[in-house]
């Protein structure tokens, strides 16, 4: 592959997304899990922008822009929830939070 192919960024996107997913599944700290969610959103952005580059379209870039805006809103809400959690339970361990399970 002597030229930049679509497969390059597709593999990058897949790798970043799966690393994020593995992080969500294996970590216990709510903050790190949240960082992994952000990483997964970025991986999707790589896909969108790569396809926009491949097909000479701008729709993918527009969608990536919206995803970044939504990610910012999501980060604000999620960190607010984590703040409320630490204030109430004094923990960021996901295994300690089991109110909805019981």
């Amino acid at each position: 592959m002597n030229e930049l192919m679509p497969e390059h960024f597709m593999f990058l996107s897949a790798a970043l997304f799966i690393i994020g997913m593995v992080g969500v599944l294996t970590r216990r700290n709510v903050l790190v899990i949240f960082m992994c969610v952000e990483l997964m959103l970025t991986a999707v952005n790589v896909s969108f922008i790569g396809f926009a580059w491949e097909f000479n379209q701008l729709t993918g870039q527009i969608f990536a822009l919206f995803i970044i805006a939504i990610a910012a809103a999501e980060a604000v809400i999620g960190l607010g929830i984590i703040m409320a959690l630490t204030r109430q339970r004094d923990t960021v361990d996901i295994n300690e939070v089991r109110e909805l399970r019981q």
Partner: protein
Amino acid sequence: MAAEVLVFNLLSGIAIVAAGAMIMMRNPVHSAIALVITFVNVAAIFVMLRAEFLAAVQIIVYTGAILVLFLFVLMLVNPDDLPEFHGARPLQQVFGFGLGIVLLAEIAAAILTRTVVAEPGPWTEEGMAQAGGNIQAIGQVLYSGYVLPVQATALILLMATIGALFLGRPDEDEEPSPSRRTVATISLAHTRGSDEPEIAALRAANVKHEAGDRDIIMARDADEFTSTPAEEEMKERSE
């Protein structure tokens, strides 16, 4: 164009290694720094893929705002409460890594056998140069075809702001402010020389304190108005 591929491989390699480091680090602050490295490399890849504006937005929003917010929240969390030295239960870790490898294989198969057909659009490098650049091109497309989504996004950001204010509000059962405290003298309702409380009679008489007009609260014994919340709270927590 081999140099382009080389640069891409370098950037994506650093991004993937940093992402891997992020989920391996024990200290969440180190995780956040690894995430910054990943995001900066991804932004560089955006530049390679003709998305200069989004590269700038990526750095400003993600590494500038969200990561600072992360570190800020991290500083507010008591370091003694941080779990995981290290990770989850081993079964959970094995399951997670196994699932990741299986999913990677599946996606690799899908990528290598893909047959995506799409009409190429007008936004080649020349097309963008004709519009005046990447930002101008995005502006043209965004504000001609996506006005309603832009407004919906604005609404979502407003909602997020209100939600953050709601979630960050102080607790309801906080100590009342000093202005709401009533000033009173607590007095044992015994007349001098007697052991029998005479609350009813004294309340009926509406005795005032000698020094002024502050109320006297009549108590049957010395402990009636001295609750010990700190001790009870400690008992509740230890249970």
